[in-house]
């Protein structure tokens, strides 16, 4: 090993690096926690934890000001593994430290995978309603559906990200181009006090009656951004019309006819389809007597797959989610007495924290147990000497 490699190795093995990294992670987590007030929990995770650097915008240039979660976590991982390889010999006395550190390595990798793979959706069901999809909490999509054949719908969806670029979109299944004209990441339909309608750029559909105004982006945990756009549909023989699309669920899809076929267009919450469907049979919301404090919410759900392999009733309530097909459905919220809102989470690496934490707990118990035994032995010796 030459001098440079040795120095390199010593740097990564050193305990000083561990301490610096621990201190940096404490500062990072503290800053991220405080910033939740401004950014909300999701944006904070992207900015602080799922990033190499925390960036501050100076003018238009993002300047890295602090190492992000991936960088600190990555260094901690290298530090741990190299310390494990070069510093610790596996022995009974060090077994506690070994287990703790191996557990921590698994925990860090697990957290990285969770950051990469975990997805969260909401599933909103009214009593009696069936759905085979859940909806994203943050993302939206423009859906153009051909409804000519009553037997099935042919859907083309365009993610909001592409819509936001403002470039014309051509899709093989559509006999027209979609040209986003105006796009607002968050918008509202203003209340009409003055009876003067908000100006609209639409020439077809609902946009003839209402217009939207842009809103600043919201980061509050209980609010979501509702984007709106004016989109032009351009056929082979020229402009078909301009529609106002708005991601507010209160806005129904707008139907139109073109080239002898029936269509509908809507900006909606991004959907995630599943190979099974859920039907809400009954939603219950108990409150403590004489108060508005919720005691328990529960949703009785019928779960069935199209081929009929699964067809059963399940009860989802607080602290008792449904796990099915790699997804977890939990009782997140409700809207009125007959509408349940379930959160749907996919996290393929969900077992890793369990393994990691078992190892670490065991490791700490062994390590501190060794300390405690040594301490008691020493006290005994002192007592014996004194006597």
């Amino acid at each position: 090993m030459n001098e440079v490699t040795r120095q390199f190795r010593d740097f990564f093995v050193s305990l000083k690096l561990t301490i610096v990294l621990l201190a940096l992670s404490i500062i990072l987590i503290f800053a991220a926690t405080v910033d939740q007030v401004n950014l909300g929990i999701w944006a904070v995770q992207q900015k602080y934890f799922h990033s190499l650097f925390v960036l501050w915008r100076v003018g238009d240039i993002p300047v890295p000001v602090f190492p992000g979660g991936y960088l600190i976590g990555g260094f901690l991982l290298i530090n741990l593994i190299s310390a494990q390889v070069y510093r610790f010999k596996l022995s009974a006395k060090k077994s506690g430290i070994w287990l703790t550190h191996v557990g921590l390595i698994i925990l860090l990798i697990g957290e990285l995978l969770t950051g990469l793979w975990q997805e969260e959706f909401a599933l909103r069901l009214d009593e009696g309603q069936s759905k085979n999809y859940s909806e994203s909490y943050r993302f939206n999509e423009l859906a153009v559906t051909e409804t000519t054949d009553a037997a099935f719908d042919d859907v083309v969806v365009i993610p909001e990200k592409i819509l936001a670029r403002g470039e014309a979109i051509q899709h093989a299944k559509l006999p027209f181009r979609i040209v986003p004209k105006l796009y607002y990441p968050n918008a509202t339909i203003p209340e009409n006090d003055s009876k003067a309608p908000t100006p609209s750029h639409a020439t077809k559909g609902i946009g003839l009656q209402v217009g939207v105004v842009p809103l600043p982006l919201t980061y509050k945990q209980d609010e979501r951004n509702l984007p709106a756009a004016y989109v032009e549909l351009v056929g082979a023989d020229g402009l078909i019309g301009t529609w106002l699309v708005y991601a507010n669920p209160g806005m129904p899809p707008q139907r139109f006819e073109y080239a002898g076929r029936s269509w509908k267009i809507a900006l909606r919450y991004e959907r995630n389809y599943k190979p099974f469907s859920l039907t809400l049979l009954k939603f219950s919301n108990d409150r403590y007597a004489g108060t508005a404090i919720p005691k328990n919410y529960s949703s009785r759900i019928r779960l069935n797959t199209p081929e009929g392999r699964d067809d059963r009733e399940v009860l989802i309530y607080m602290n008792n989610p449904l796990r099915y097909a790699g997804l977890t459905f939990y009782q997140a919220s409700f809207d009125g007495p007959k509408t349940t809102i379930l959160q749907v989470v996919r996290n393929p690496s969900w077992q890793m924290p369990y393994i990691a934490c078992t190892l670490m707990t065991l490791g700490l118990l062994i390590q501190f147990g060794i300390h405690l035994v040594a301490f008691i032995a020493r006290r005994r010796k002192i007592a014996a000497v004194a006597a």
Binding site: Q36, V37, E120, A289, K295, M318, P353, M360
Partner: protein
């Protein structure tokens, strides 16, 4: 002689506690204890009127005693007596000074002049102490009567302040909203058992009962346009409106469900029950009992009053006997005030332990140890009683977390003291025990501390494991910090820190940090598992989760720095004190952000307290960082 000091202290301490737990001899011929034991349903829980009285007084004025600063005797024997007046003779109740106003701007708004607020002591000794500042020279509690003329203006100010978000309200706006809230609650209390405007509620009810059949018929006839007695219909409608108002103004459900109603939770307000009388044709016997109590109280007939209480209590007990066992126990628990009693004992133990470093080390240290043990026993009984009343594990809200963290940290101190016998454990116990109970007292000012659990937290298994273990981790981290403070203060300001004591302190802090690491880590992990079991995600970066994680990381940092030889005893102490800052932020600071799953309970005053605490810890760390030759204990010359 010195040998007996510990025994004498032990006996005195035990007698003090026994005196607290024994029922007090009533001074009045009215059975206020029995009245306080009567159950009402409020905020989802069947609780004794005594608890309603105490938590209302704490909310209104920050203490349970009713009295004026100029008089040494309280104006009512107990909170229950005050409550009796509020329920049955509101004119008298309006004269009690139970509304606390501190803000000078709000005092002006409520028309209180400096002259009104000035306390005039009659005895010259008291005047002397007031000049020295040992007694208040101006009062901060005022009666409803005193401020009632300015309530419309207060209401206007409250309307202006309410749309402002809590975090950005000015102190004046906070004070306005607080006082207005208290006054609204006072109105609710007044309408609980009888209408405050009625001079003879019993007479009113008896004639109402007589009028019911014909009166209801007259109203029916009127609404269908048939001939009817117009006078009678008008009187009936007026009564209906009166009871409707009563039913809407209060949220205290005082009337138990009628025998034919099977739902045990279907309690009603007195107003609701009276409205129901229009359909049933009779007045509920419970409401008649309240009216009877009101009559006996106003006519000053204690025998009648006490008899009605016994009859009513027996009647309710037929159906709610089991619950009433709990309400009775709760009244006894309220009167014993085990946590306030422990506070006194902790202070005494702290002082004794400090003195033991100066003189008579062995007997005084032992006395302090006994007092700590007694106080800890009293808090154990208190916490156990709360658990039994609630049917829950010990920690369910911020208040109970303060109780439990204090309990856990004093428990560890007892172990340390049993091993080392150098009074350090007792000093730390006195300090942490007193401080956590003081915090708990301030948290109790926002209302009844036995709250119902929000649905999301309703899981006894996870409350018993995650919450208890993580709270123990908090307790241990605090304890390490407080032991470090003892090291720094004794070492740098006194000559009393000899090598043996310094070494044993260093070993204690190290041991406690290990313990804290284990418990905060396991507790945090269990929280993650709860989250995964309930919501399908192990970690959500919620503020409280992050706070717990920071504690784990900080403890890990201390241990690594120690193992790597980067710090010695002094560095260990400085880092352990910083652990106090980390833990206090995690405990309270995260709740102040007002975001996330765990954002229960926020107080603006707590922010100031937290800032002061953090500043004090930084000063102590600065003290720790001075070179050793500046420390008095380590100066060789």
């Amino acid at each position: 002689m010195k040998k007996f000091i510990p025994l004498v202290v032990l006996v005195l301490g035990a007698l003090y506690l026994v005196g607290k737990f024994l029922p007090a001899r009533p001074a009045s011929s009215f059975n206020f204890v029995g009245f306080g034991e009567l159950p009402v349903l409020l905020n989802g829980r069947l609780k004794p009127i005594d608890t309603v009285a105490r938590s209302s007084l704490l909310q209104f004025q920050g203490r349970q005693r009713v009295g004026d600063a100029a008089e040494s005797a309280p104006q009512t024997e107990s909170p229950a007596e005050w409550m009796t007046n509020v329920f049955f003779s509101s004119a008298k109740a309006d004269t009690y000074p139970v509304f606390r106003i501190d803000s000078p701007d709000l005092l002006t708004l409520m028309g209180i002049t400096e002259d009104d607020a000035k306390v005039r002591y009659t005895s010259s000794a008291k005047q002397f102490f007031a000049v020295l500042g040992f007694l208040p020279s101006s009062r901060s509690r005022f009666s409803y009567e005193k401020i009632s003329s300015k309530i419309p203006e207060l209401e206007r100010q409250a309307k202006l302040a309410r749309p402002v978000e809590a975090a950005v309200r000015t102190p004046f706006q906070h004070a306005v909203i607080q006082l207005y809230g208290s006054l609204v609650q006072y109105q609710q209390l007044k309408h609980t058992l009888a209408p405050p405007t009625s001079d003879d509620f019993l007479g009113e009810l008896l004639s109402f009962q007589k009028l019911l059949p014909t009166g209801v018929a007259a109203v029916r006839a009127k609404s269908t346009g048939q001939p009817h007695d117009a006078e009678l219909a008008k009187a009936t409608i007026e009564l209906g409106q009166r009871y409707l108002f009563m039913s809407e103004v209060t949220n205290i459900l005082a009337v138990p469900p009628a025998t034919e109603v099977t739902d045990d939770t279907a309690w009603m307000t007195t107003g609701q029950s009276l409205l129901g009388s229009f359909q049933r044709g009779t007045v509920d016997p419970s409401v008649l009992a309240f009216a009877g109590l009101s009559y006996a109280w106003r006519q000053n007939q204690p025998e009648q009053f006490n008899k009605i209480i016994d009859l009513y209590s027996a009647q309710v007990g037929k159906r709610f006997g089991k619950q009433m066992q709990k309400t009775h126990a709760e009244v006894r628990f309220n009167a014993a005030e085990p946590f306030y009693a422990s506070m006194t004992l902790y202070v005494a133990a702290f002082l004794l332990a400090i003195f033991s470093w100066l003189k008579w080390p062995e007997p005084l240290a032992r006395s302090a140890f006994y007092l700590v043990a007694l106080a800890w026993l009293a808090t154990t009984v208190g916490i156990a009683t709360r658990m039994w009343l609630e049917g829950r594990p010990p920690v369910t809200n911020l208040y109970s977390s303060a109780l439990f963290i204090g309990w856990g940290s004093v428990g560890l101190c007892l172990i340390l003291e049993a091993i080392y016998k150098n009074a350090i454990g007792s000093v730390a116990a006195g300090l942490t025990g007193f401080a956590t109970l003081l915090i708990a007292h301030h948290l109790s000012l926002s209302g009844d501390t036995l709250e119902m659990m929000q649905a999301v937290l309703d899981s006894n298994f996870w409350l018993a494991t995650h919450v208890v273990i993580v709270s123990t981790g908090y307790a241990a981290t605090f304890l390490a910090g407080f032991l470090a403070i003892i090291y720094i203060l004794r070492g740098s300001l006194t000559r009393s820190l000899d090598k043996a004591t310094a070494d044993s302190l260093a070993r204690m802090v190290y041991g406690i940090v290990c313990f804290a690491t284990l418990f905060s880590f396991v507790g945090t992990v269990l929280g993650g598992i709860w989250a995964d079991q309930s919501w399908g995600r192990f970690w959500g970066w919620d503020p409280k989760e992050n706070g717990a994680l920071i504690i784990v990381l900080w403890n890990a940092l201390i241990l690594h720095a120690r193992w790597g030889g980067l710090i010695k005893a002094r560095g260990l102490m400085a880092l352990a004190i910083f652990g106090n800052i980390v833990t206090s932020w995690s405990w309270f600071g995260t709740n102040m952000l007002g975001v996330g799953l765990h954002s229960y309970g926020f107080t603006a005053a707590a922010f100031t307290a937290l800032s002061i605490f953090i500043a004090s810890q930084l000063i102590l760390i600065a003290l720790a960082l001075r070179p050793l030759n500046k420390w008095r204990s380590f100066q060789t010359a």
